[in-house]
Amino acid sequence: MSGGYRLASGGRIDRSRPLHFRMDGVMHSGFAGDTLASALLANGVRVVGRSFKLHRPRGVMAAGVEETNALVDVGKGANAEANLKATEIELVDGLEARSVNAWPRADRDALGVLGLLKPFLPAGFYYKTFIRPSWDTYEGMIRRAAGLGHAPVGVDPDTYEKQFAHADVVVVGGGIAGLVAAWSASAGDAQVILIDDQPELGGTLLGQPVPINGDAPDIWLSRVEAELRARPNVRLLTRTTATGVYDHHFVLACARRLGAGPRQRLWKIRAKKVLLASGAFERPLVFPDNDRPGVMLAGAARTYVERYGVAAGRSAIVVTNNDSAYHAAFSLRAAGVKVSAIADLRASPPRHALDAARHHDIEVMPATAPAGVAGRHGVKSIKLASVDGAGRLGAASQPIDCDLVCMSGGWSPALHLYAQAGGAMHFDAERGAIVPDAAFEPVVCVGAARGTFTLAASIAEAYAAGAHAAHATGHPSNDGFITPKVDEWPQVAAAPIVELRSARSRGAHSWVDLQNDVTAADVRLAARENYRSVEHLKRYTTLGMAVDQGKTSNVNAIAIMAAATERTMDAVGTTRFRPPYTPTTLGAFAGREVGQHYRPLRRLPAHEAHAELGAVIEDYGGWLRPAFYPKADESEATAVTREVLAVRGGVGLFDGSPLGKIEVCGPDAAEFLNRIYVNNMLTLGVGKARYGLMLDENGIVKDDGVLSRISADKFLVGTTSAGANSIGYWLEEWLNCEWPHLNATIAPVTSQWAVMTVTGPRARDLLRAFDTSIDLSAGACPHMNVREGTFAGVPARIHRVSFTGELSFEVAVPARYGQALWREMLKRGQAFGVTPYGIEALMVMRVEKGYLHIGADTDGTTMPQDVGFAEIMAKKKADYAGKRSTMLPVGRDPRREFVGLEVADGEAPLPIGAHIVDPSEAADTRRTHGWVTSTCFSPTLERPVALALVENGRARMGEIVTLTSTHGRRSATVVGPCAYDPNGERLNG
């Protein structure tokens, strides 16, 4: 018999609540309080996964977030989750888990044979080998063989939440240091949030207990927890992982939930102080075949005994370079596991350790290290050898039977969040760890995270840090904390971090990053090939780039690189840490902002009236607007044609409410707008309207619209619908940052007014069906005029402007009356055959008229001289935004100019985006002379019409050009943009 089993008693599991689960289809059982990893070990499962590249069989190595081997996929279909660490999965009834990167299952993987190829697959193998004919040839095959879990299929059915929070002090980590820090920080009235990733508080003490006040630590822990829970100024977030610390003490944390409700909640916490009590990770030892299933971190083996009531094996050997693993040996022995020996790399282990081992009747072998492990699918035996301080191994012993190797290479503070925030670190030889530099305000480390490895010192440090944080945020406290008495060994130095290596151990591999199959030899190869920078090392070997982000491998790799290049650890340095600390579900970042909430769409004041008419409503620049109003089973084309002809022949009604409206007032309003627009706005008379074009600083056409002068010092700026908000900000910026001396104010009023456009030869007839104080006769209110008054009994502004080419009135009323006005206009307009029309018909009519549509007929290179503004620009002497840029050499010929195209081959409308080319140019160097920007079939003219940007277009009127697109080759004649009523007679009715 070999492998793990459930102990008869002990652990924090609830033995009264058995649970059943499947791993790779095989039914197993466990208890509430188990993790998937502890339950698998309890069921004797040794191989739980395969490595990324070589498909080596791998077993559980750790008991927490640092796990490198035991990755599984959980769930099915859309509910599946990939690459979860078995050590982090709380066991629930019915759990379905699958090994990753293994087929058909972890212990009988078809590609396991790849493991034999390691001698031929060193770091950089792919870069060096799969070059000819090209990487593409091999990529598919390699990607299928390598890789980990499978992404879920389908739409994620789970829901996610976000929550903002604010705190004086955030404490990350619910171990003893975190609890004490939170206690002292919250003793006054400081708001404190404590974040811990486990279901219960206590941290390392849960699995590696140390007597406190002479008792099991539970008693003291539960007292502290109860006190914290009773404090109204403390929020305890368990099952919550702090994944990132960003500028200004911004902490991101992801909470997971068992059972009903949102699956995860993303906490976005703005703190004033951040205390990091994230503890430390135990390091593996680097020795030949250290990746065999059954080679485990000593602290993890102890945790399985103490916390989960599981023995990870039946016969153990402990190998260590420090004191901590002795306690693992004692726990295993006490649980009834045979512990053959403790091999200690140190030549003279400290007296307290030797005495304790003797007391537990366990042999200690000083200056001894592992030299090799046998057992492909699980440890069968280990060879030991003498070792010197540099890790050189002597002759190996005979194999010693065992099925569990507990190793400890020392402890690495979990400094990820500290480093993310920008904290600097250095190697402390005495502590055998990379520790934080003394002072770094954004994140203050306490306890093991600071390299303080005794509980007594951690408690004192955490207490002081908590009190200091409270004080610094204006919440002094003095709570009479009684420092507990801890029964522990003093901190003594560990043996140096070295690769354990024998001149004779050829063929065996010493693994550093198990998940990505990186060995000590790969690190040395990187050094030989001059990838000496730690960042190069990472990318060349992929070390630390797996799901575990190198939590157990980075420090060992730095030590091996330091030795290989004869540098210090500090000279090698560490790679940059980036969030998230552990993989975080994308759903948590999306939160509820999915589906209809992904991008909130704006509704028209008359939205319901449009919907009642059966309008096809679509998203136009963030607004839900009617595209067209089909009758019965009309197609889009039929409906649009009908709507266009109704406007041209009678009267149409259009909801133009989204058009941007900004009131600019003040004595300098005219001067201000004159500096914004290409057009001269000083000469605009009261009651008049003028089409205007505005540019950005680069002289590029930015927006257009009709601007009107309501009174001497009050203008109404019209913008495109899409520009309604951004142009408001644009005006604010110019006024407040560039011309603060101008006396003007800006008020965005887009949503204040509903605008109904009445257009067509019978437009005035329809308006006359309403009471209005405004004289709308042609003489009193000609084209391009604005009037204020009342209409249908409510305040109104009526613009006589046109985007259809017909007689047009835009009637604006306060938005609350918009829906009623729309309904009433349709009702009273029936006598004149009024037809509601949508955006699509409007677009056809404006193409017929050759009216510019910013963003469709212009792009990020279009200047005003390209769209027929050269004359206006020449006449305007005053400066305006973007003017100088239009005069740069790039603004001169040859430029693509806005023109019309008339189909010359008698066929269908030109395809949008078709390029104008010169067929006489050689095919391989042929360039574009421009392209079609708008195109449609004109129901009015009964022929296709198109608009285009064409190089030197205005000088090429009458020229027949060739167009090409994926639809083939066409020919067209360059004409003016306006195909319908070029003299504008219909506007002036």
């Binding site: 829901t159 939440e161 976000k162 929550q163 903002f164 929070a165 604010h166 708001q191 009903a260 409700g261 949102p262 976005k268 703005r270 509820r592 902002e593 209809q596 909430h597 991008r599 909130p600 769409l601 704006r602 509704r603 028209l604 004041p605 939205h607 319901e608 607004w623 989204p658 009131e663 007032c665 003040g666 603060p740 001396h741 101008l742 006396n743 003007a744 104010t745 800006i746 008020a747 965005p748 009023v749 887009t750 949503s751 204040q752 007014w753 309403f770 009471d771 249908a792 009994g793 409510v794 009323v813 306060p814 938005a815 609350r816 009356y817 918009g818 829906q819 009623a820 006005l821 009433e824």
Partner: protein, 173 residues
């Protein structure tokens, strides 16, 4: 003669009342006037004080209460809010916004699902206000004695309502 009926923005939704300590409803009675101070207008403060019985607050994000609430929204810009507000000194934007009233012990918690602002009473007491984003929706938020007043652009009122109602559902899950 008014031929046209005024429509409430959210006439089509049912208010949320008393569920999980939350109440949310549209308040169509709120009138909103945007007050803009020009650069050389020394009489502005006095004119406003005379019209509303209180001077416009100069401290950012605070509210002064007279015949209307004067809420600071930007340097030289205030909302005058109330059931009757004289629009002579500003721009009537009552129709540009939909006013929502959110109250109950869990109101701040609901808002904190999507508002980055610290809404604790200490940091955001009665008579403070802020313009911020509620998820992807820009809003104006003011704390009053009996809860929060939220102004959202009229066109986004439906989106804001469904967002808050959905969040309220999530609260009870």
């Amino acid at each position: 003669m008014a031929d046209l009926a005024a429509a409430h923005v959210l006439a089509h939704v049912r208010p949320i009342a008393g569920r999980d300590g939350l109440a949310l409803r549209e308040d169509p009675s709120v009138r909103i006037v945007l007050l803009l101070e020009r650069r050389d207008d020394p009489g502005f403060q006095q004119r406003v004080a005379k019209a509303f019985g209180v001077a416009p607050p100069t401290k950012a994000n605070t509210v002064a209460k007279g015949s209307a609430s004067l809420a600071w929204i930007a340097p030289g810009q205030w909302f005058a809010l109330g059931t009757y507000v004289d629009a002579r000194d500003g721009v009537d934007v009552s129709d540009a916004y939909c006013a929502l009233r959110l109250s109950g012990p869990r109101a701040a918690e609901l808002l904190s699902k999507s508002l980055p602002v610290d809404l604790s009473v200490g940091a955001f007491p009665v008579r403070t206000c802020v313009r911020t984003m509620m998820g992807s929706i820009p809003i104006f938020l003011m704390r009053e004695a009996d809860g929060f007043l939220i102004l959202v652009e009229r066109s986004l009122a439906h989106a804001a309502w469904t967002w808050l109602a959905d969040g309220a559902n999530a609260l009870s899950r």
